[in-house]
């Protein structure tokens, strides 16, 4: 991991061509854009590296579970390659093993992945000037992890017009990581039937806690996560992981109300 970080960070400096491009860019704006794009892409990959650690056990366990679910290995890999949505893949494989009708599995996938619509809503202001040629792959590759790191990049105040390359770098890193570990899980599947007892699944909450903390900078956001957390525990009985979306709305409402009340209180103090 550490080595990966260093080599990714050192990559531009290691290439003699890189400096040339930057220098030439002073007279050719295209050169600057090319170099900036590469820098953004590499930064996106680099900032996502720690999160690959959180996704790998899930890929491995997904592959192992898929291998015993009755789904063919080709179909299990095709699902990773074309659907690329961890939690819904897990649920789908479980439903396949229980011989659930296809239409129900597809409907379940739709509901489980609803949170992605909240993610894309958040990114709309930053992607609205991109061509559809960009929006399609960025949408296809959208995950919890890429979303969480990319939002921070988009919100940074610098004027870089190539921040979508950062998102692409993060997306590609997540995609390749997921395919690799799913394939490994499939191949090891029957040899490690107790993989889900190893406790590797702890990697998900740990990486997610690491992702949440940088967002908690203001009182309204703190109230928002407290409310969303409480709601997630009260909505455990909702099917299809609907509790996630419901709790998100509870958290958002609590955050908005706190923000309004704080503003009101400030105005009252000022007048």
């Amino acid at each position: 991991m550490k080595q990966g970080l260093t080599s990714a960070a050192g990559f531009p400096a290691c290439r003699p061509g890189e400096m040339l491009v930057t220098d030439a860019g002073k007279s050719h704006p295209g050169g600057v854009a090319l170099s900036l794009r590469k820098q953004e892409f590499i930064r996106g990959v680099r900032d996502t590296l720690p999160l690959l650690l959180g996704a790998f056990p899930f890929g491995l366990i997904y592959g192992a579970v898929a291998a015993t679910s009755g789904l063919s290995p080709a179909a299990a890999m095709a699902m990773s390659a074309f659907v690329f949505a961890g939690s819904s893949q897990f649920i789908a494989v479980g439903l396949v093993a229980a011989q659930t009708p296809v239409a129900i599995i597809v409907l379940t996938t739709l509901i489980v992945n609803l949170r992605h619509m909240l993610y894309s809503a958040t990114l709309v202001p930053y992607l609205k000037d991109l061509s559809q040629k960009w929006r399609i792959p960025l949408a296809f590759l959208l995950t919890d992890e890429t979303f969480a790191v990319t939002v921070h990049r988009f919100r940074q105040g610098d004027a870089s017009a190539e921040k979508h390359w950062y998102q692409l770098g993060s997306s590609v890193a997540m995609y390749l990581n997921w395919q690799f570990w799913c394939l490994s899980g499939l191949m090891l599947g029957k040899k490690i039937p107790d993989a889900s007892d190893w406790g590797l699944d702890v990697a998900m909450p740990i990486t997610f806690i690491g992702m949440i903390i940088p967002f908690v900078k203001t009182t309204p956001v703190a109230v928002c996560i407290l409310a969303a957390g409480a709601a997630s525990l009260l909505s455990l009985n909702l099917p299809y992981k609907l509790g996630i979306v419901v709790s998100a709305f509870v958290g958002i409402a609590a955050g908005l109300m706190t923000e309004r009340n704080l503003k009101k209180a400030k105005r009252a103090l000022a007048s």
């Binding site: 179909a75 949408a139 709790s247 998100a248």
Partner: protein, 106 residues
């Protein structure tokens, strides 16, 4: 791959991509009300928390609210490490170390 597997994957791909893409597709035509725009910043922490907290307090799908729950202990250590270090990789390393170390102790 059987025909029904192809239909399953095509269906899952269509709905998943559809959900991820529909707002991107209309991005330049969407006019957001100011209060909706103000609510966007709460989406990442709200969704991530709603995914994470149940995974920590009900690690195997059952409530486990005690210090014999290594997921809970690791989550508390991770939170402290995250606030202290402000470094994602260090936070995750400390959290994983806490989990597997604590499980050895138990």
């Amino acid at each position: 791959m059987t025909a029904s597997e192809c239909i399953l994957i095509a269906g899952m791909m269509a709905v998943t991509f559809g959900i991820r893409y529909v707002l991107f597709a209309l991005a330049d035509r969407i006019r957001m009300a100011p209060w909706i725009e103000a609510s966007l910043k709460f989406i990442p922490p709200a969704v991530l928390t709603a995914i994470t907290l149940p995974a920590v307090l009900l690690p195997k799908g059952e409530w486990h609210l005690s210090f014999s729950n290594p997921y809970l202990v690791a989550a508390l250590v991770t939170t402290a490490a995250g606030i202290r270090t402000r470094n994602l990789l260090a936070t995750i390393a400390v959290g994983l170390g806490a989990f597997f170390g604590y499980r050895l102790l138990l």
